[in-house]
Symmetry: C2
Subunit: 460 residues, 2 copies
């Protein structure tokens, strides 16, 4: 569904969401959408992104708006377009029209917001101008992230309960985002053999997303240096023996995200060492997805990935010992230092603006163990949750060349054997997996993962 | 030149720029680069854009850095990457390496900045976090834009004198940006006949820019509703009888911008009415460019465009009367309501963060006359200035359907004749024009403007 063509199902969905909220809290709520942020001068702004909490209850990415929710009622606050704006921006929908589109009970100009503030809770937005305004209007300091207090904290917890599992409207958006990401990755594979630098592959992928009038959900990673986990550069030249790792996801106009990673051989043909490691990562990926079902602890899925990777590396002669014991000793984390995935929804790390409040079941905290400390989700799975499953293998120089690491794992890693895998710098395979009543549904299943089909897509 | 391969010429250029600055002011200066801005949660940021004033003197888009300039000396303030960052971001250049790349005399951690603040002037950056920091560190309120005072105002005026005209290093970047924009427009023309919605054409154009590891200099306008001047939507379907207006420009990795508009027929063939108006706009475009030379007042070029457009519309029977008289009565501005262009450099509206300080010669102010009030540049041209020339014709409903306008211009506009041009909603033709010692050089000349060649490019 496009923002230019809303329909009754959106209105119904929004009504249902705020009714659910009303069963959890007994105080009024105001959520701000935020405003555009200047890039190099005030009139040249970054593309507007409405606050995700606002989007969840208001449905549309309205600039400079607020909604008030109380006992299932929706009040919209937004200014009508200035008469002069028609010259520059054309005829824009007015307040009453927007109110109809989202099923608001009443609609007011922004200036009237200050008469409706008594006893309201809120969540801080990201843009500093609006955030300042939130504190000023409510006459108290709206603290960021996990420092939320009082009714703001209660509100955050109630919203998390809602947003942790997705309704049909959300799922329709998430499926659309996933489908576009699948096509973007296919385009990236096809563009690789003729590309000279990473940027050309990125361009081919993001073109698919832009052509659907969507945006990227996060800064794309498209690199022959997959071992740099948050690589945001695209200038490296591409060589035939390289693996290309692409972590690229689309976001719909309504703000719903996808998050997909594939790794493919630039030449269209994995070397035997690349294929060996690829198959280890794929085995972890498949084993983890097969475990996704209601009631399963996400951390156990993470630990399963660690064990499968450790066993695979034992089988290849890179690690030495018993897989479970290797995981206990964090040996897997030399090559798989991050978590198996995270929540996915309106944010690619869903609700990470609230710190770990959403990702961690109440009463749980991050582990200080290296192999677990980067795990972003630690909850039992529920039907309607959408999570990523993204195991990987990396030869991060900062880890494997570290002298302390080398001596700790002197007899655990066969360093000489490892050196034979020098053409495998980084591999990750990531899909978006919905928890269903009976098990799981992989929203990105249309994008192949097996090495042979990936090779074919690169060469097509 | 790429930021990954700087060279001595950059170091020399930066030295020359700060030496020129030192001849104009006798106090020290600190310029901040700014920081990344959160999009929907703190770790998901908008692409970083360094402050343009920082880029001018520091050359590289460094995140969270500052430079201190005094008497031609360059001091760099930036933190070394945290040891743990190598895991996520790979090996990053350290402070000393960066200092070498830009020819800094010394380099310090950011924490030492506070020992170097006495008597320094600065310019406010756009990102609110750093802007707050500027005020806190300098212990005075750093006012935005045209409210600059004291040494900050003196500094802004000195920087404007430098940035108004471009040195060879800047020109090399600006030429690169222009060349990539030319290719983007050709790709857009070629993609149009098979496109169903505007977003597909935008995607084809931005793909060219991304593939060069560049970004767009501003929010692209790619629309069949060219009459909406700041149209930032791409969802409209494309019909064979439509004109498509594309205002898309590349920005190099070092931050230098281009700004190019073309208008082409979706079917590859202008209708006779579309071609008539297109040729009026093109006549204004050509006449204005022919006038660009040192000493000429930019406002006179704007008024020339108004006159040529008025005469063209008289010849087509749309306006009635004498062209010069029509311009005096603002009749041209019903169809050409904006200015003929603006400065171009590190910003697409160069130095617009300083309000009109850069665009308007000291002592001059914006006119309140409708046809002149949107003129962004009012200075005599100098060799080395880069300006846009972008005349247009638009049927803006908010203007031509306004009853007051209709009665004021009852006998000036032949409204019945105008209605025959209903398939011409918006046309603009925009090039980037460098003022040379003897006249001008059109940096975007490789992109054809004549109607026949444009038709061929669409059909190729």
């Amino acid at each position: 569904m496009s923002i230019h063509q809303t329909c009754n199902s959106l209105i119904e969905t929004l009504r249902h969401r705020r009714q659910k909220l009303a069963t959890r809290i007994d105080f009024p709520v105001i959520l701000w959408s935020g405003t555009s942020i200047p890039r190099n001068y005030p009139a040249n702004v970054f593309p507007f992104r409405a606050s995700s909490h606002f989007l969840y209850f208001a449905g549309l990415p309205l600039v400079n708006a607020a909604i008030r929710l109380e006992a299932g009622k929706l009040e919209l606050f937004i200014d009508d377009p200035a008469p002069s704006s028609a010259l520059w921006h054309g005829e824009m929908p007015n307040r009453e029209y927007i109110a109809t589109q989202i099923g608001a009970d009443v609609a007011h100009p922004m200036a009237e917001l200050e008469s409706y503030l008594e006893g309201v809770a809120t969540i801080p937005v990201q843009d500093p101008a609006t955030w300042t305004q939130q504190s000023q209007l409510l006459n108290r300091w709206i603290l960021p992230r996990h420092q939320l207090q009082g009714i703001d904290l209660e509100l955050a917890q109630a919203i998390i309960e809602l947003r942790l599992t997705h309704d049909q409207q959300a799922l329709a958006e998430l499926r659309t985002a996933a489908a576009v990401s699948v096509e973007a990755h296919k385009a990236g594979m096809a563009a690789t053999p003729s590309a000279k630098i990473e940027a050309e592959v990125r361009a081919a992928m993001e073109k698919v997303i832009l052509a659907q009038n969507m945006t990227t959900a996060y800064h794309s990673i498209v690199t022959v240096h997959g071992e740099v986990l948050h690589n945001e550069q695209y200038h490296h030249s591409i060589q035939p023996g390289d693996l290309l790792l692409a972590d690229v996801g689309a976001e719909t106009e309504m703000g719903w995200a996808s998050d997909v990673t594939r790794t493919w051989p630039v030449s269209g043909k994995f070397s035997s060492t690349q294929r060996d490691i690829y198959d280890v990562v794929l085995a972890a990926h498949d084993a983890c997805i097969a475990q996704v079902r209601p009631g399963v602890e996400y951390q156990d899925i993470h630990l399963l990935a660690c064990t499968v990777i450790a066993q695979g590396l034992v089988d290849l002669g890179i690690l030495q010992g018993d897989a479970e014991n290797l995981v206990e000793r964090n040996a897997h984390s030399l090559f798989f230092p991050h978590g198996i995935g995270h929540l996915l929804g309106l944010d690619v790390h869903d609700m990470e603006d609230l710190g770990d409040l959403a990702g961690y079941e109440p009463g749980r905290e991050r582990s200080d163990r290296f192999g677990l400390s980067y795990l972003r989700l630690n909850r039992p799975l529920q039907p309607g949750m959408l999570v990523t499953i993204e195991p990987g293998f990396y030869q991060v120089p900062a880890i494997i060349n570290n002298q302390e690491v080398r001596s700790t794992y002197q007899y655990t890693v066969n360093w000489e054997r490892l050196s034979q895998f020098a053409d495998v710098r980084g591999i990750r395979i990531e899909d978006d997996v919905l928890v269903t009543e009976n098990g799981r549904e992989v929203l990105t299943e249309a994008l192949p993962t097996d090495a042979n089909t990936v090779e074919e897509l690169v060469c097509s």
